[in-house]
Symmetry: C2
Subunit: 567 residues, 2 copies
Amino acid sequence: MRVVDFIVKFLKQKKINDIFMLTGYGAMYLNDAVKLAGIKYYATRNEATAPSMASAYSRIKNKVGVACVTAGPGATNALPGLAEAYVDSSPIVILSGQVDYKQTTHSTNSKKIRSFGTAEINIIPIVKPLTKYAEIIKNPLDVKYIIQKAFHLASSGRKGPVWIDIPLNVQKAKIDEKKLKSYLPKIKSKINLKNNIKKDFEKILNLFEKSKKPILILGHGVKQSGKIAEIKKIIDLLKIPVIFTRFTNDLIPHNKKYIYGISGIKATKFSKKIMNQSDLAISFGCRFSPQFVGHDYQALSKAKVISVDLEKDELNKKGQKIDVPLRYDLTNFLPYFLVFLKKKKLKKFIQWNNHCRNLKKNFPIIFKNYNKKNKSKLMDLYYFMDRLGKISSKKNILITDAGSNYYIGGQVWNFEKNQKELSSYTNAAMGLSIPLSIGAAVASPKSTILSVTGDGSLELNIQELKTISHNKFNIKLFVINNGGYVSMHNWADTFFRGRRVDNPVDTGDGTLNLRNIAKAFDMDYFLISNSKNLDLKLKKINNNRKPLFVEVLTDNKQIIYDAYKDY
Amino acid sequence: MRVVDFIVKFLKQKKINDIFMLTGYGAMYLNDAVKLAGIKYYATRNEATAPSMASAYSRIKNKVGVACVTAGPGATNALPGLAEAYVDSSPIVILSGQVDYKQTTHSTNSKKIRSFGTAEINIIPIVKPLTKYAEIIKNPLDVKYIIQKAFHLASSGRKGPVWIDIPLNVQKAKIDEKKLKSYLPKIKSKINLKNNIKKDFEKILNLFEKSKKPILILGHGVKQSGKIAEIKKIIDLLKIPVIFTRFTNDLIPHNKKYIYGISGIKATKFSKKIMNQSDLAISFGCRFSPQFVGHDYQALSKAKVISVDLEKDELNKKGQKIDVPLRYDLTNFLPYFLVFLKKKKLKKFIQWNNHCRNLKKNFPIIFKNYNKKNKSKLMDLYYFMDRLGKISSKKNILITDAGSNYYIGGQVWNFEKNQKELSSYTNAAMGLSIPLSIGAAVASPKSTILSVTGDGSLELNIQELKTISHNKFNIKLFVINNGGYVSMHNWADTFFRGRRVDNPVDTGDGTLNLRNIAKAFDMDYFLISNSKNLDLKLKKINNNRKPLFVEVLTDNKQIIYDAYKDY
C-alpha cells in the first residue's frame, strides 16, 4: 500500500466521506488515492476557498473537515482560507502535495532558498503561525503518527487547523501498515480536576450568591466543547440572563427563557444595557473581543468577571479585566459544574430577570420597511434580513458575509426555529459566504442554504459560483446590491468628513451587472427590487431546490445601528 | 503631519506615482493619505492580486512597486501574491493596515492568541518567511527608519518583497519630520572586491582558455543586476553560446549572434544538446532549477560549472554540482569583469560555435498548423503562440500563464523585436496573467499588453477582469480554450495510465461559457476558432486600443514537447 492509500483509508475510518480539493502535479498521488478510495471530492476553482469549505463542513458535521491542495502556489493560494479557519478555530486538516523531498527547500535548512524543486515552496514555516500543528512527512513510516496527531490536535482542546505536507516520493512510497508507529495523545491528567475544581465551583457560587445582577456569557468555547445539553441544564438551574457572542448567537433560540441573544457594538441596545448594569459576569469560553465588550471594555465596567477558558494567554492578556480567571477545558468543566449545581439550592433573581425582560421589550431593534410607506425608497436591509430569518426553518442554514448583512443578521435573527448560522465570525472577512455555503451544502445535502452576501464581498470568491451551479448545490445566494462598499462609505463619512477613497465599485461603471454575472456562472437569476410580497417571494425561493442567484436591491444609505452610540 | 502623510511623501520622493490598493477600515488613514497625495490608486477586487500587480509594475518600471491592504483578512488575502513576489524576487513593498497597537496580538507576545482587536491578525510572523524584511511600526518616530530600510532591502542585493504593518493609532499619529531617525544601509565594504576578484577573474579565464566547448548561462540575477549593457559587451568579447533561463528568455533577441534562448525540460532540443555537450558553463545569477538542468541535473553532466551568485545558500545547496562557486553581487561583478576581459586576448571557439549553430538549424521546435492541412482539426497552440510572437513588436508586452501557454511561449518566442515578457516564472502559478497584465498596463500605458491565459487559469483571479474593463486598460487577453486542465490530463495519462481525477472543468458542464464571462465583466469579446487568417486577426486585435477578451479554440490533445524525452 502507498502512503497516500494509508491516508485515505485513515480518512474513511474517520468517516470523512467528502474532501475539498483542487488537483495538481505536486499532489497527483494524493488525488489519485482519493479517487480510488471513493471519497467524494469537490473541486474548488481557487485553493483559497478550500479551507473555508472544509471549515463549514466541520461546523455542520461536528467533525474534522479536510482539504487537499497541490505544492507551491496551490499551498500558498490556500493561505487566506487557512487564516480564516485559524481565527475561527475550525478543526480542519489540510493535506498539501510537495515535490520530492530531496528537492525541497525544507531539506536545505536554509532560510535564503526561495524555491528549489518545480513550483516548490517551503510551506511549513509559513503556516506554522496559522495552525496548531504543521509537519512535512519525510519518512513514509511516520505517516500514521503524523496524521493521528494532526487529527487529534485539530479536534481537541481549542480546535483549529493543522497542515500536513507530503512530498511526491513519500506519497508514492510503499509501506507495510504493521510497521507504522502510532501517536498516543498525552492524557492531560485531568489536572487536579477533582481537587481544585470543587474550590473553583465554590468560588463561582459564592460570588453568585453575593451578586444582585448576574449574567451568563457563552462564547465559542461552549459550542466547541460539544456540551450543549449540559449548558442548557445549567441555564435552567442558574436562571439568569444569558448573553451570546457573534459565534454563539444561534446556540439557543432567543425566545427561550433567559436568552437575550448577542451583545456587542453592533448588537442590540437592551443587551448592552444588561451587560452594563450587571454586577457579575460568569463567562464560558469567550475571549472578550473589543467588538463584544467595546473598544474600551466599557460593557462590563460594573461587573466582577469570572472567565472559564482553556487558553491561558486569553485569560492573561491586557484586555478585558478578568477578576477570576479559571483555566479549564469546558468539555470536562461543564458536566461537573452541572452535577455540582444540581445539589445546591440557588439564589433567585426575580427582580433582575424582570428588569431585563423589560429592557428587551423597551429597547428593540427598530427598523422601517421604507417601501410600505414610500414606494420610491429602497428596501431597508433590516426588513429584508428580518423577514429572511422569519420565513426560515430548521431545514435552513443561514449564512452571512462581511459588512451590513453580517451586522444586521446578528442583530435581527432570533433562531427561533433552531436554524444554524455560519459566517466569518472573528474577522467578518469579505467573500466567505460562497465557500461557507458550499461546505454546508456538502455537509448537509438535505438543508436549504440561505446565504447572504454583498455586491462588494461577492467578487472575492466569485469563481466559486460555478462550483455551485456545476454541483447543483441547494444554495440560494442573496446578493445585497446597495451600490457597494456601504461600510467603507460610512467610515469615510465618520472619520474623514465624507472624503471618500475610491474602492472597486465607487464610480458608476465599477459595479457589476449581477444578472449577467449569474448567467455567466450558469445560475438562475431572480430579482427582489422592493419589499412588496417579500415573504411570499422568500418562501417561494426557499422551496425551490435549484441553486439560485437572487439580487436584492436595498438602500444605499443603509444605517447600521451601533449599540454603543445610536438609538 | 501624520505618519501616513510622511509615508506617501516618501513614496512620491521615490517617484512611486501608482499604488495597488483595496481600501478597508484598518488602513483608512493610509487610504486617505494616498488620495490626498494624488498618488493614483488602482483598486483590486481581491487583495490576492495586489502584490502581483505591484510585481509586474516593478519589473516594467525597474523600480519598487507598492501595494496597500487592510488589516486581518485584507492582509492574509494578499499572501498568495506575496508568495509569488518572493519566489520571483520582485522588489515590492506591501503596506498593511492594523488595529490600534494595544489591541494587536503582536503586543501580547503570545503565540496562542489567534485574534485580538477587530478583524485583527498578527501578520508579521506569517509573512516573515516570504519577505526580506517585515516590521510593524510601534513607535511613530520609527516610520522613516523602517520605510527607508524596507525600500533599501527590497531593491538591493537579491531583490524581494518587504512588508510594513501600521496600526491605526500609528497611522494617525502626528509627527515632527525633523525628529525622525534615518536608516543608513550598511555599506558592504565591497569586500575584497579589489583583492580577490582579480584572482577569481583569472580562475574563470584559466578554465575558459582550457575549455573547448564553453557556454555562458544568464539567470535572473543578471536581469536584477541592471547591468544589461555590460553583459552584452561581455558576450561580444567571449563569443561563446549563450543560454537563458525562463526568466531571462527576453533579455536579448534570439536572432542576435551567440544567443540560443532558453534551455530546460520544456525548452528546445538544440539548447539541451548544447548544454549536454559543453565542457564549461560560466553561469551568472542562476539557481540551476530542476526545470532548467533536469531533475537529475543531467544537462551539465560533462561540464565544469562556474557559478557567480550572491546567495551563499544557492551556491552550496545539494543540487547542481558547482565546481567553482563565486559569491558576488553581479551589480559590482559584471562591470569589473568587463574591464578585465577588455584587456585580454581571448581564445576563439570557431568550431564549437559552428557546431552549435548547426544544432540550432537541425533541431528546431516543430509544430504543425493542423488547420491548414485539415479543417476539422483544432488549432495547434504552438502555431498560435508562434504567430502571436511574430506579429508583436516593441510596443507589446507579452504575458503567459501557467500550463501549456507558459511552456510553449518559452519554446517559440524569440523576442526579435525586443518585446518584454512577464510571467509567473518560478512557480508557473495559475491565474497570474490577469494581475500581471494590469500591473504592466499601469506601468506602461503606451504599451499594448498581449496576455495569454488558459481556461483553467482564468478562473483563479477572474474577478479582476472587471478591473481591466473598469480602467479601460489596453490589455488583449487571449484565453486558450482547450477544454481545460490539459497539463493535468497529460500527467494523469503518464502516471496513472489515464486514470484521471476530476478537476473543476473535467466533466461536460464544468467549463465556463467564455462569451458570457466576457459580457459579465464588461469586456468586448472576440473568438478565434481556427487558424484561418490568424496573422490578420492578431494584427487587428493588436491595433485595437480597447480591453479585449479573445477566446482561442485550440487542440484539447495538445502535446507539449519535452526536450529531455521527445523528438
